[in-house]
């Protein structure tokens, strides 16, 4: 019986190893927090107001030989918005802006990815925010990839996109220079496709 199980295990692992090569899967390093979702918006046309969404999670798959087959999915907790000013954050979570009580979830799921050579990507996908789902385009760039010092393999991207506030039902006027918000994304993923790396972050 033991021997039978051992053989089955051997056969099983052989099948896994011989499975056709596919894009490597990465989970975003939330535990070590080597990722950030930052936003910035003009204040009166005089300066940039910056803040972060502190809580999010996600994964991506990427193979440098076939970047167009890559994909990325991220969920964001809009209530975790943090502009380093509690009273403003309360306003941002309220009905005028993110309305987190009614729309507690936000997400991004890529639908197609175009490679523009030299590690540059155009990521097209659906952003769901404040109950509205719209197609957005993220200009992304691979920052680097390689084995980390702790036995894992990591890959990181940076990206930007711009959202028009009223597209997502945010009609509170902040003035003519503040009708759109930039999202600036930093993502580091840890490769998940072998058992050893699975638990490490």
């Amino acid at each position: 019986m033991k021997r039978l199980l051992a053989i089955m295990g051997l056969v099983g692992s052989t099948i896994l190893i011989s499975a056709p090569a596919r894009s490597a899967d990465y989970i975003i390093d939330i535990e070590g927090m080597h990722a950030a979702i930052q936003f910035r918006i003009q204040h009166l046309g005089f300066s940039w107001l910056v803040g972060n969404f502190n809580e999010f999670d996600g994964h991506f798959s990427y193979d440098s030989d076939r970047p167009e087959q890559a994909s990325v999915a991220v969920t964001i907790n809009p209530a975790s918005i943090d502009s380093n000013h509690a009273q403003r954050d309360k306003h941002l979570r309220g009905e005028d802006f993110l309305f987190v009580e009614k729309y507690p979830d936000a997400s991004f799921n890529s639908t197609r990815i175009e490679a523009n050579g030299a590690d540059k990507l155009t990521i097209i996908g659906d952003l769901t925010l404040r109950g509205v789902t719209r197609e957005i385009t993220i200009d992304a760039e691979k920052v680097g990839a390689g084995p980390d010092p702790w036995g894992g393999f990591r890959m990181g991207f940076t990206g930007t996109t711009r959202l028009v506030l009223k597209d997502y039902g945010m009609t509170k006027s902040l003035g003519p220079s503040a009708t759109a918000v930039d999202l600036i994304l930093q993502v580091e993923g840890i490769k998940q496709d072998d058992e050893k790396a699975g638990g490490k972050r």
Binding site: A86, R93, S173
Partner: protein, 181 residues
């Protein structure tokens, strides 16, 4: 009329504080109600909340003075002409007002002091924040502040209607006592 409350009459200290706080409750309610929807470019966008915070904290200070004064120099009991049910209701309503007024000040302070912010009372002094371990304190306090505010003005409106009823229907001294006549 004396400064202090007597066995049957309110003193003018109580009367002034009562009307000052009545005006403050309604004034702060309407200030708060309108300030949250101000246009970003309104000259009042920052000024109105600043005024609301400062006046709110002064209201809180006056409330503490009032509670101490009430303890040292209790108000006259309800009129002898009231029945038992009316007396119980009168006392309960007064206690409810004090509870609501304390709660509106505390919840407002918790909004304004969230994020370790000292709350300014005009350009006079600031009330420091307390290191409270509350998750999203400003949101929770904000929700309470709104509902307590509505409760206060609705209860205040009923309180005023009841006083008018005593004056016009029952023809007793309830309203006259608190205006000092």
């Amino acid at each position: 009329m004396s400064f202090l409350n007597s066995r049957n009459e309110y003193g003018w200290f109580s009367i002034i504080v009562h009307w000052l706080m009545a005006a403050a409750v309604f004034g702060l309610f309407f200030l708060g109600y309108f300030m949250v929807d101000l246009d970003y470019y309104s000259p009042w966008y920052n000024r109105a909340p600043h005024l609301h915070e400062g006046l709110g904290l002064l209201f809180g200070a006056l409330l503490l003075v009032r509670l101490v004064a009430r303890w040292l120099n209790p108000p006259p009991p309800p009129l002898a002409s009231l029945n038992a049910m009316e007396r119980i209701t009168a006392r309960a309503v007064h206690s409810l007002f004090y509870a609501l007024m304390l709660a509106i000040v505390v919840s407002g302070y918790l909004i304004s002091s969230a994020g370790d912010r000292a709350v300014p009372v005009f350009n006079w002094f600031s009330v420091p924040s307390l290191p409270l371990p509350l998750e999203q304190q400003e949101d929770v306090a904000g929700k309470w502040h709104r509902w307590i505010g509505w409760s206060l003005v609705i209860a205040g409106g009923l309180h005023a209607l009841a006083a008018i009823k005593h004056h016009l229907v029952d023809r007793d001294r309830t309203l006259r006592r608190i205006v000092g006549l």
